[in-house]
Amino acid sequence: MSARILIQVSYIVVAMLFILGLRSMASPVTARRGIVWAGVGMVIATLVTFITPEMKNFVLMIAAIVIGGSIAWYLGKVVKMTDMPQMVAVYNGMGGGAAAAIAALEFARGDVHGTMMTVLAVLGALIGSVAFSGSCVAFAKLQGLMNRVWRLPAQNAVNFVMALIAVVLGGMIIYAGSADSFGDPMKFKLMLIAFFIVSLVLGVILTSPIGGADMPVVISLLNAFTGLAVGFEGYVLGNPALIIAGIVVGASGTLLTQLMAKAMNRPITNIIFTPITGEAISSGEGITGSLKEVSALDAAAMMRYAQKVIIIPGYGMAVAGAQHKVWEMTKLLEEEGVEVKFAIHPVAGRMPGHMNVLLAEAGVPYDKIFDLEEINEEFPQADVALVIGANDVVNPSARTDKSSPIYGMPILNADHAQNVIVIKRGRGVGYSGIENALFYGENTRMLYGSAQQAVAQVIANVKSMQG
């Protein structure tokens, strides 16, 4: 009996540690402490669960923890900072899968009773399965394993029909479950299997048509989904730690998703139902002018003799691993008396704040890094806007061209700067497959090459101008 009390008290403490931990993560100063608190909470929760009375299968349990935990720990340690978003997607999918599996197990044991419990078990299973298979697709896309966006004919109709089938099957399970007889056990089993398959397929077809540019929002949404699924299964198991942690994540994840979608000016419904796909657009429509190339020497001179340079880093810079070089160039220019600032679009990188993490890794202090609202008015005073591996976030079509799929998305006004230098790998279109009017601008110069190599050349040329 006392073991049960100890467990319940511990779970409450754990839930508080989680909430306080997340709270601390809201400030850069206390963020590190926050994750440690949450980590302590997780260890307490795990250890205390072992003393739950009447539990069996400990060998299998410990084996699963060791295997799952150590593989994930190792992969998390070795993954590169640029690949973080897909790692988060994977771990998130695993959480969703675990929640769905709990529901499956509880149904298999016949331990789901009453209407409310059945409803939440079914909802948790549906949401968890969608989060699991959806996150796998998100991972495949970000990892580059699934480059082309594919859409079924009448995608939305297919989505709707699949969702409807899932809901009908779920409803049948709830009906059978609340009758408490479960009807014919064989039929019930088949219904459950069909339900899980449909839910998993739903996750895949919902995420497959969504392009890479919208992926951050999708990962965030799936993260919130997993939270909800965990919370619902927590009710099925009567476990307050799962309920509180799951619902807190569900609520904060939903809000975070909204913040991200707002930053892109794309309502969540748009992202899911009318995804940006490059193929749908007749490329370069209404764009006039030509691409004008510039040498690394001229680019270096333009920046060396500028008063003010604003650097706009994008995912391309991060992939090339050029952030250290960019910081080296920044320090060099500052020694020459140039004012250098970094402008970060809310969705630069693959997730909001991802670019800040990457720049922080290179050692750029965060008082040099500015958000869209803070810096956009400064572009007209900048002599040079240096765009490194960014594309859609500086595309002026978003302001002017109503037919553009990114119309209305707030962008960094790089085109308002006196001069624009764009470092770009090649002439192709960007990640979302949209042609960029900025590149054809009158005062835009293109510096072709990988970010790493191009910046290194600029550095060498700036150095040669010293003294």
Binding site: T46, T52, G68, G76, G95, L105, E106, V230, L256, I344
Partner: protein, 102 residues
């Protein structure tokens, strides 16, 4: 039974408010670490998976397999989520002089 259900509804509502509050005032630069952090927090599903496996019938291979799957996934969510978040937040050193880490 009904009072217990009502209690759970309170927990749901209060937890939802707490979640909303926690994230309401977060600077954009911490959005990614925070998403990763909340990803770690729902790794507590591990605890639920352990309880579910612990109550599974040792003579049913199906139940054991599902339970094993659930615990392994839950453990991966928790362990991986922690490492990734910790590494990201480790970048935000507040010190003025930074020694470039490895």
């Amino acid at each position: 039974m009904e009072t217990i259900d009502a209690l759970y509804v309170y927990i749901f509502i209060l937890a939802a408010i707490a979640g909303h509050e926690v994230i309401a005032r977060v600077p954009v630069i911490l959005h990614t670490p925070l998403m990763s952090g909340s990803n770690f927090v729902h790794g507590v599903v591990l605890v639920g998976a352990m309880v579910a496996l612990g109550n599974a019938d040792p003579n049913s291979p199906l139940q054991l397999a599902i339970g094993f799957f659930a615990v392994a996934l839950g453990a991966a969510n928790a362990a991986g989520g922690y490492v990734v978040t910790e590494r990201m937040l480790g970048m935000f050193k507040t010190g003025d002089k930074k020694v470039s880490a490895k």
